[in-house]
């Protein structure tokens, strides 16, 4: 069961974790370069950095999922080697992953006790004790959970509580949370912070891995900032400002809030009317969404992940069936049209999952870039596909979007994430489709590529195309969109012009508190 340290002392923190000189090399990348990190009992310690700065790698070292090439770990004052996550858990270190490590078909109680089950004789699980243990923890930390509910039926924010319970049940004294608020509304995030403060007050150490300045300032005691795999600074939160942290993260003053000049909207290109998409169970994933995207404008959809944006996009591009409502593309109804038909009528789509959906990893770059063109411009005489045409087509996209690749025959999976994204975006833009649906266009892409991709999207809009942008990054939504929609609980709850869409208003709407 859980253990509590009775001595909690904020003024002279005892180091429970000391990482020294951690270096981790991936092929071609130095993910961590001699990083030090100290965690004290009773503190909430933020680990900050941009995408690719090495936060997740460092966290996985501490969690035993990745052995460092060099460097040492002292745990509770003793040198320790962690060979696996199971080792880490046994040593009192637990992690809440960004992608939850839960068993959807098992109950909350089963998930919590899994791996540390209370037993009757003969290996029979003591289910009453399990339920009791969960109920106790729920009460003690105010987490509001039904032990008998199936995890499959729980919303994302609630699943996160199950993850935390799992760690507490194992008596974790060091808790790592990887981007925990990515799936939470601001209100849920506040509740999470309350729980975290309570855990710290009991003498546990909390490592909060995040790139969001606001929550670092709101909840942490100390901050370690990483940039390009190196530690740039360690600060006490109360002695720092957002500006300092931003500068430490990026090495320059933060200019992510670049606002591009507005577009000039024309004819409606995409019209969505009362679109409803089935979800799990009876509640629809998308509930009567209505909006329009015009030529020459970017419409951004903001929302916490899991509020129906993904299903909305899937229904618009034809990968999910609409239950009711109407989708029109350039005036023609496409509500139930197959994907190929929609693409023919003028739709291009940059999907969130570029590795599985946007590309076939083991297929050559040339084959990947030919998708959608293979029944048209690439056909040679007698309707045969010409390999030279395929190569020429691929070359054009590679040159135009500066995709770094040895040749066109390389499997696309062998390219770096940013180059894959440029290739997929290049292919979709090359269709010159009147409507581009771009989903999380810069996720996991380095900062230079982010600006290039943003510029491409704006240029595409300025050429008179319509762009539907879905992003979890508020700065991206605000920087690019001519109009902003907010999805909450499957519904479009707000629609504003760019000037009305302040960060504050969007945040409230994302939490379901819009008027």
């Amino acid at each position: 069961m859980t253990n509590t340290d009775n001595g909690t002392n904020h003024t002279t923190p005892r180091p429970v974790v000391r990482l020294r000189g951690i270096t981790v090399r991936y092929p071609g990348v130095l993910a961590n370069d001699g990083v030090d990190l100290d965690l004290a009992a009773g503190e909430i310690h933020a680990l900050m950095g941009e995408n690719g700065a090495g936060k997740s790698t460092l966290a996985s070292v501490l969690y035993g999922a990745r052995r460092p090439d060099t460097g040492t770990l002292d745990l509770f004052g003793a040198p320790t080697r962690l060979a696996s996550p199971a080792d880490a858990i046994a040593a009192g270190i637990g992690m809440v992953h960004q992608h939850f490590m839960l068993f959807p078909g098992l109950t909350v109680a089963e998930n919590v006790v899994y791996g540390a089950e209370p037993l009757h004789r003969f290996g029979v699980v003591d289910r009453a004790a399990a339920r009791r243990a969960v109920a106790d923890l729920v009460r003690r930390y105010g987490l509001d959970l039904d032990p008998d509910a199936l995890v499959r039926d729980l919303p994302v924010g609630v699943r996160q509580r199950v993850e935390i319970l799992k760690l507490l049940h194992r008596g974790a004294r060091v808790l790592i949370l990887d981007e925990p608020t990515a799936v939470l509304t601001p209100g849920e995030a506040d509740r999470l912070f309350t729980v975290l403060r309570g855990l710290a007050a009991e003498g546990r150490a909390v490592l909060l891995v995040t790139h969001k300045l606001g929550e670092v300032l709101a909840v942490s005691h100390r901050v370690t900032v990483l940039r390009d795999g190196r530690r740039t600074t360690v600060l006490r939160t109360e002695e720092t400002t957002a500006g300092d942290l931003a500068a430490a993260m990026t090495g320059r003053d933060l200019d992510l809030d670049v606002v591009h000049p507005p577009g000039t909207p024309g004819e409606p290109v995409l019209e969505v009317r009362e679109l409803t998409v089935a979800g799990r169970g009876t509640k629809p994933a998308v509930d009567a969404a209505t909006f329009t995207v015009r030529a020459g404008e970017i419409v951004g959809i903001a929302g916490v992940a899991g509020n129906g944006q993904a299903e909305l996009v899937a229904a618009v591009v034809g990968l999910r069936r609409a239950r009711s409502g109407v989708v029109r593309l350039r005036g023609e109804e496409i509500t139930h049209a197959p994907v190929a038909d929609r693409r023919r009528r003028g739709l291009a789509y940059l999907p969130e999952d570029r590795g599985e959906v946007g590309a076939a990893g083991q297929a050559s770059l040339a084959d990947n870039l030919a998708a959608g063109f293979h029944r048209g411009p690439l056909l040679g005489r007698f309707g045969f596909l010409s390999p030279t045409a395929l190569t020429r087509h691929a070359r054009r996209i590679i040159d135009r979007f500066r995709v770094r690749t040895p040749d066109t025959r390389t499997p696309i999976a062998a390219l770096s994430g940013g180059n894959q994204q440029k290739a997929v975006l290049g292919r979709e833009l090359a269709h010159q489709a009147p409507l581009l649906v771009a989903e999380q266009p810069t996720r996991g892409v380095d900062i230079g590529a982010v600006q290039a991709i943003h510029a491409e999207l704006v240029a595409y809009r300025d050429a008179g195309h319509a762009v539907l942008l879905v992003s979890a990054e508020l700065s991206e939504i605000r920087g690019l969109s001519d109009r902003v929609l907010v999805c909450y609980d499957g519904r479009v709850v707000a629609e504003w012009d760019r000037d009305e869409a302040t960060e504050h208003r969007i945040g409230l709407a994302m939490a379901g508190e819009a008027g």
């Binding site: 996985s60 999922a65 990745r66 052995r67 090439d69 696996s84 591009v317 990968l319 197959p338 994907v339 190929a340 038909d341 929609r342 693409r343 023919r344 789509y349 999907p351 999952d353 599985e356 959906v357 946007g358 590309a359 076939a360 990893g361 083991q362 297929a363 084959d367 990947n368 030919a370 998708a371 959608g372 293979h374 029944r375 056909l379 309707g383 045969f384 596909l385 010409s386 390999p387």
Partner: protein, 357 residues
């Protein structure tokens, strides 16, 4: 260490596959070598001199007296290998080749027996009907997959059994040869037969099968349809994203597959002994040997043909090996299956640990 985590971050401790296993060619070589070694050991274990056995095997496969036999074995195996390679190329498995093969044979038989057309036209009609019978039966399995929720693997296999039973019933009762106690149909009318080449028993059917192989090669490499099939095999979600209609593709791919299987069945009935004998298309394991050849070559058109040729030669040569050394010819089936197992296993290493789907 689990497969899933191993995929996400290459763990420090895992041994990399050796250089040999980095390429598909290397993996195939290793698999074949393993097969040969095991075959040799088993031969030695049963008291047979492996060298004598291999010499007999080679003579049995390629000796001047036996080559025609081998070629008549190559025809169905090559045909079935190509038939089953097409769905594999799209990442689908058609396990119902036997049923499609037999229905093609039955279709051709019925046409041949009852067609009012002159003999040459009857032959053409019989080939067409056989192809259509196989194609539509395989398409049925595809419809079970896309519309009734029964996975293709299972639907194609389960449909196979009733088809075989149906054919068996036909040749034992309504179409039985009244002059014989064997479970076989009547002989096709004189002239309803594929012409033969040269002096031996090689029908022009072999030419037809080679034409099918050539067509598959061209379609695979050079047509939009082949492109869509390959992309579906390499990334099913990517394919639907790019606008490839999977249910429709499944039906078409299966129809092509079953059509070729049916064609092979028709060709076999229109060749010696010009009738349908119950079990004659099943017990030689044409379908399964063909499937293994396609698996060995990852459904690559030319590779499948080469693998099918060698598997057929191996199986055919085994008769001579058995005659001379008394070593049971089932040994070749064991070796072929082992080759595929080693291949699948080392391909897993090649990919990095794959884990179950």
């Amino acid at each position: 260490m689990t497969s899933r985590t191993a995929e996400a971050t290459p763990p420090a401790g895992t041994a990399r596959p050796s250089r040999l296993l980095r390429t598909r060619g290397g993996v195939v070589a290793l698999a074949v070598l393993t097969g040969v070694v095991v075959g040799t050991l088993v031969l030695a274990g049963t008291g047979t001199n492996p060298l004598t056995a291999y010499a007999a095997l080679a003579t049995g496969a390629f000796g001047p007296d036996n080559l025609p036999d081998t070629l008549s074995y190559v025809l169905p195996v090559l045909g079935m290998a190509t038939a089953l390679a097409i769905p594999l190329r799209a990442g689908m498995v058609n396990l119902g080749g036997e049923g499609q093969l037999v229905l093609g044979a039955v279709g051709a038989l019925v046409t041949g027996l009852f067609s009012p057309l002159p003999a040459p036209l009857t032959v053409v009609a019989a080939l067409l009907v056989g192809t259509l019978a196989g194609a539509s039966y395989a398409a049925l399995a595809a419809l079970c997959d896309s519309h009734l929720g029964v996975p293709l693997l299972v639907s194609s296999l389960l449909l196979s059994y009733p088809a075989i039973s149906f054919a068996s019933y036909l040749v034992r009762f309504p179409l039985a040869d009244p002059g014989s106690s064997l479970p076989q149909s009547e002989r096709l009318p004189a002239g309803v037969a594929l012409p033969t080449l040269g002096a031996g028993q090689i029908s022009v059917g072999l030419v037809a099968v080679l034409a099918v192989v050539a067509a598959y090669t061209v379609v695979d490499r050079r047509t939009p349809a082949g492109y869509e099939v390959r992309m579906t095999g390499l990334g099913a979600r990517f394919a639907s994203y790019a606008g490839i209609d999977r249910p429709r593709l499944t039906v078409r791919v299966l129809a092509a597959s079953g059509g070729i299987a049916g064609l092979v069945g028709a060709i076999l009935v229109l060749g010696f002994p010009f009738r349908f004998i119950d079990g004659a298309l099943i017990s030689p394991q044409y379908t399964w040997i063909g499937l293994m050849a396609a698996l060995l070559a990852a459904a690559h058109p030319v590779g499948t043909a080469v693998a099918a040729f060698f598997f057929a030669a191996l199986t055919s040569g085994a008769f001579e090996m058995e005659r001379i050394t008394q070593a049971p010819r089932e040994l070749t089936a064991i070796v072929q299956a082992l080759v595929i197992i080693v291949l699948a296993t080392s391909t897993g290493l090649l990919r990095g640990k794959g884990g179950p789907r």
